[in-house]
Structure formats: structure tokens, C-alpha cells
Amino acid sequence: MSEYSAKSLHDGLVAHGLILPTTVQGVFGRSAVFEDVLQRVADLITRMAKDDGAEVMLFPPVLERKTLERSGYLESFPHLAGSVFSFTGDDAQHKELCSRVHHGEPWADLQSMTDVVLIPAACYPLYPHLAGRLPKGGRTVDMQHWVFRHEPSPEPTRMQSFRVREFVRAGSPEEVVAWRDLWLERGLGMLRKLGLPAEADTASDPFFGRGGRMLAAGQREAKLKFEVLVPVISRENPTALCSFNYHQDHFGQPFGIQTEDGKVAHTACLGFGMERVVMALFRTHGYVPVEWPRAVREVLWP
């Protein structure tokens, strides 16, 4: 497997029955073998974090719409958000709906906005729950969520719906930055232990529009975002498997999160793109996990 390309990875995953494509780009099923590897990676992350005292939380894959509105997501990423709409009409409108669907005509205008949106990033459901004073030393939370990004692409590594294992740290700026730096080292170490040629680099988010270019440049200048990258579909443009984001007071301010001494708390999060880690393993070690190098198998199946 010397050639790196989106197509060769896609075809390899499909040929080995690891992903089950649909007619929509970035949306596919996962096989039992794929899921087993993903769960093993999740377990490995759990072992790495076992002494951190992180609180585990789980939210459904939908988020209160007002949380998204408060978070500023639509200012930065309107093009990635997914809002849930549903039918609330009467019998006549229902008949109209069915008729339009039957005739292949647009029917979006017969739906109306609900109170929920799809989770855009795994940490978003948490912030309203951190409101108020944090305990001394802050809080650390551990979550894994399905997230949605509207960015259809033929690259198997760029999905519309995927899982992110995410840790969030809220506390003083010093606590949060030290924690992020610790995890950057852990993330690099973990992926290298899995035989992946991981490297860290500063990064920026895909902010929308011309203003977004300014936000991205500012984010890079201030070194607020780091990624750990591994070649998966390209050697020149390696894929981000983890990202580490220092939000400063971006969430602390709107959600009223305070340190124990009453200052606006800072937050940071780190996320592992679970499917991407799994795909990097398949791309690097082959599509049959029982044939992976023993050292790698011993880490994942201890």
C-alpha cells in the first residue's frame, strides 16, 4: 500500500466490508470489525485518562437549538451546522407533502424548525451544565458523541456524521493550558504507540467567509488550536486525528462559567476523531486487524 489517495482508502475499506457506503457522500455504515477497532481505541483512551478524575457524561446526538445560538457557532460555521426541521402541518398540508415527495418536488417549505439541532462538536451539550462557580481546580469531563458537519466529500476521512471522543477542561487559564499541553503529548504518544507516524502542528478551524479567514489567521497566530496529523489519504496533507483547542473565554463568557474565585473560566477541549484513528490504522497496517503487527495488537487487545 504505497499509494495514498482518498479513492484507494475508500475502495480498500469497501472491498474488505469495513464500511457500507450510501448514495450520500460522507455517510456510511460501519462493520463489526471496524467497530471493534473503534471500541479498542476508545478503551485505550480511557486507560490513558484513568487517573484524571474526569466525569463521564453522555448526551444524545441532538442539542438544544438555543445552546447552539448562544455558543456563537452560527457566527463562525453557518455552513457546517445541521438544524432539525419537522412537519407540523394539518391534513391538507400532509396531502400536499406526500404529493410533492411522490412527484420528486421540493418539500422543505412544508417543514418548520424544531427546538433541536445536530451536535456540531462533541463538547457543545456540556457548556450549559458548567454554568456557575467551578470547584477548586476546575472540572474535567469525558464524552463521546456523534457529531454532524455538513461537508459532503468523497474522502472517507471527511464524514458528515462521525464520533468524537472529547475531553473538556474548565478552570483558570493556567490550568487549562497546562492540561491541553499534557494531552497533546499524550495524543502524540498514543498514536505513535499504535505504529502511526503522528506529528503535531498548529491549525485553524474552517471558519466561514472572508471574516473567517481573519478568525483563522488569528487562531493560528495565537496558537489556540493544535492537531495531531497522520498520512491517511495523502502524504503531503496528512489527516488530523486529534485536535486540541484552547477556547479562552469563548464559552465561559456566554454560558456563565466561573472559576472558584469568580473570574470568567477558560475552557479547552481535545477530541479524537474516532473513525479517523481507525482508518489510519487500516491504512497503515492493512485492512485485516489479525494481521497487524504484534506490538500494535498488544496495545489495542491487551
Partner: protein
């Protein structure tokens, strides 16, 4: 031009202190301007002066003080 810049900052900069009291070289981010507010300032400057900031100017530093904003706008409007 400084007056126009100050009035845009007053409307879009969401500064924590009075714009009138700011020195030309004062750091606007220190004065409370968030990165999102700086985007709104940038867009308002474009429509006020009928310019389009090129990518190389879409940086934090360019919008960091009244003086640096004025320099950038003057560069784009030079020769008009």
C-alpha cells in the same frame, strides 16, 4: 479618517472602554475587542471606505489599533 474609524469601532468593536479615550496606538484587543467583533469592524470598514481587504491584510494585527487600521485603509485608497 480617524473619526470614521472611531465611529465604526464604537458601533462594532464592543470595546470595554470609551472609544474617544483611546490613543491611536492603543491595543484594541486589550481594550476588549473580541475576534468576532474585529470581523464586524473589518466588514464595516470595507463598506465605509469602499475597499476590500486582501487576504494578506486579514490578520489580527492589521485591526489591532486605530493607527494600523488607518495605515491599511490608506494603502487601499491611495491614488483615488
Amino acid at each position: 479618517m480617524n473619526e470614521s474609524i472611531r465611529s465604526i469601532l464604537k458601533e462594532h468593536g464592543r470595546l470595554a472602554i470609551e472609544v474617544e479615550t483611546l490613543a491611536e496606538a492603543a491595543d484594541l484587543y486589550q481594550a476588549g475587542m473580541t475576534s468576532h467583533a474585529s470581523v464586524n469592524v473589518m466588514l464595516a470598514l470595507e463598506s465605509q471606505f469602499d475597499v476590500e481587504f486582501p487576504d494578506r491584510m486579514l490578520r489580527r494585527g492589521v485591526f489591532g489599533s486605530i493607527a494600523s487600521i488607518r495605515e491599511a485603509v490608506e494603502e487601499l485608497t491611495a491614488g483615488r
